[in-house]
Symmetry: C2
Subunit: 427 residues, 2 copies
């Protein structure tokens, strides 16, 4: 790992450059698949599944029988672990529901907000070696709490046409309405337009490779909303001299194993500690099953000495890390000053893994410096806030003349007239 000592501010951006995305132009491929799915529906979906997932399916929809089998394939221990995670995610996300709070802005003028579910949502879960059933908990639980009526899950089948049982189990547990064996761009296109089998949805959530990410961006131009723009996962750890180097190394590696393009950055006020962490990373890396992936991510990563807390905070906010671990004793010097981050993990016993699975917070978070302007997935993601207002006769008398003046100044006479007629009727 590269150790940098007290970098100057004009060097920060270089040090923290995110791994470059592949520059391949995917837009033609993506728009072609969307066009085909829009015109040919299920037929196109089955063809693409045969082409990309190497399996000829008869039905895209997962059957009750398959879900029942999945239930019997999981160990009770894993089911109990999932139940614990589910409970914590439910408790934390429930706390984000807002109560209706009526505000009287002027005598006779009442305003309030109410949360309403997005009625139809689509969740995408990638296939591949790691079955990301935890992401189903992170998306399906808040969708259900929000009251979304249709929760559609798409995930690609393996070459035998099967879905990992942990994915099916988690989907059923959280209340997914329908599960489809469908991946890639064609899944996003199906959720956008709807086909004979797959219902269209209003908003699409979930991770994916660059094709899926590009397809979600493309869906935005087809009147569908998405959770957030996606990029490779990343972690910043801030440590002091007392931090346990073994713990810090394990956190860095838990991020690094996500993929070749993951990025981990460790900031400390102690050069000795950074060297100790470097050694611990080497040691732990040697025995990791995913060490190939982790090794290249670690090569992209940085150990950085920054001595004073206030400069560290500026550095954090400039980087805007998806995950931030504060493994420091004086956490209070940091907390109120963290402006740009997705999720913050405080203290020696709060690894990122906790938030990835079971603390209760959401693990779908803004990467690639998007923490500057996006929140992670939360209850807002599955709801809209509608404003309501109710004005009495006295209320319109109180604010009507101001509305008339402002509408007139904007040259909008009919806006003014809607108030004038009411005020005249009250004379």
């Amino acid at each position: 790992m590269n150790i940098t000592v007290n970098p100057t501010r004009d060097n920060w951006a270089n040090l923290t450059t995110r791994p470059a995305k592949e520059a391949a132009n995917l837009s033609k491929t993506i728009s072609d698949v969307f066009d085909e799915v829009q015109v040919h529906g299920d037929k196109a979906l089955l063809l693409y599944t045969k082409k990309f997932d190497k399996v000829a399916l008869k039905n895209l929809k997962v059957s009750e029988v398959e879900i029942g089998q999945a239930r019997s394939l999981l160990s009770q221990d894993l089911k109990d672990a999932i139940a614990l995670a589910k409970k914590n995610i439910e408790i934390f996300h429930s706390s984000q529901l807002i109560e209706k709070q009526v505000v009287e802005t002027t005598n006779g003028v009442e305003c309030w907000q109410e949360m309403r579910p997005i009625e139809k949502v689509g969740l995408y879960i990638p296939g591949g070696t790691a079955p990301l059933f935890s992401t189903i908990l992170m998306l399906g639980i808040p969708a259900k709490l929000a009251g979304c009526k249709e929760i559609i899950l798409c995930t690609p089948p393996d070459v035998f046409g099967n879905i990992n049982p942990a994915i099916l189990y988690a989907a059923e547990l959280v209340g997914v309405t329908t599960i489809f064996k469908l991946g890639g761009v064609q899944a996003i296109a199906a959720l956008t337009f709807g086909t004979e089998s797959v219902p269209n949805v209003y908003k699409i959530f979930g991770p994916g490779n660059q094709f899926v990410t590009g397809a979600k961006q493309y869906a935005l131009t087809k009147s569908v909303a998405i959770d957030m723009p996606a990029g490779p996962s990343e972690l910043m750890v801030v440590t002091d001299q007392k931090a346990n180097a073994t713990f810090v190394a394990s956190d860095l590696l838990s991020q690094a194993e996500h993929g070749h393009d993951s990025q981990v950055i460790c900031v400390s006020d102690s050069l000795e500690k950074l060297k100790e962490i470097e050694a611990a990373v080497e040691k732990q890396l040697a025995v990791l099953p995913r060490r190939d992936m982790a090794t290249s991510a670690i090569e992209n990563s940085q150990l950085i000495l920054i001595e004073d807390v206030s400069t560290q905070i500026d550095f954090i906010n400039e980087y805007a890390p998806e995950h931030l671990i504060l493994n420091v004793e004086n956490e209070d010097a940091y907390l109120d000053n963290i402006i740009n981050s997705g999720s913050v993990f405080i203290g020696a016993y709060t690894p990122e893994s906790a938030g990835d699975y079971a603390s209760g917070t959401n693990h779908t978070l803004p990467t690639n410096s998007y923490a500057r302007m996006y929140s992670g997935v939360n209850m807002d993601s599955f709801t809209k806030k509608i404003t309501f207002q109710k004005i009495t006769k006295q209320g319109i008398k109180n604010i009507g003349p101001a509305i008339e003046l402002m509408a007139e100044a904007e040259g909008l006479e009919a806006h003014k007239n809607a108030v004038t007629l009411r005020l005249e009727s009250l004379k």
Copy 2:
């Protein structure tokens, strides 16, 4: 106006088709302007301003002197009206700030959310005949309450290089940091990339014509966020037999005067009332200054008889109106069932104009059926919610084994190891 009696459900979509957008392909124009601004900065901005706004500026930035002059040009009455609107908007938007609420999801595991401002935001206000200073209140006030550090306003100059004084006054009043005489695609490009004069921002807000709207969509692909996709404004009014037809007509016209492509829809359980409203619209329309615009919008619009409340509610939710006026006596039969709408106006004395200017709610709302999945602008729009978690030794003992099992099942050994090392240290 067209009156439709008890339309069948399969005819609803036809009846409520939004006015077609121009199909002109703007993307080449937009990407060219972005490229020029990225490369040539201020020089490109000045050239485009000369080309499109017909004025050769020396400075893009509005001076203190100009702002001072604007202050002296506005009547005290209008200033008082703006002050009243500002107070109401502040009261309502302040009520949307969330308090930190720590939740213990499991013994020893604390999670919470905190709101943080988006540090740099850009507001766009169109030029043209109507100076939309009210939109500055609607965007600038929540930005300031949120704590945004830089609030940049771009608005096109007239041919003399001036900005309407009401716009300058409102911008200074709400705390806009810097105002630029800059409109169109070039303004959005400047806010996206930054130039010598104009700072780049993280999120861009505000209305505009199809070029500005297209430019905001394009900015999304350049790592900037936007408030929401935009479309022509629209209103649905639901009335019963007791509604005052004159009031309803004035509400329909206040929407219709926005533009040729505005849409107004009136639903009632009484055919007589619809005919009475039609007559009142004709009468009021004849004397409106913007009757040309309002006339073509009224031609696109619909009066629809739907007799039972539950069908009316389904119709509302299918249309997902930006503005919904419930001018009915039995409002309670509707309120809890409204799922898709931007803002709801309840009762005879709550015209849409009230929310456009001064009730306290925001007038930047989702159009074109986007109320299905987007909220109007509110405090969430100018903030992010960061999640925090803090776990004690006992806490990690309680949830650690579940994390280990789940990480293992997902094949993420390093995620597991970050917990295992901590649990072992506590044995």
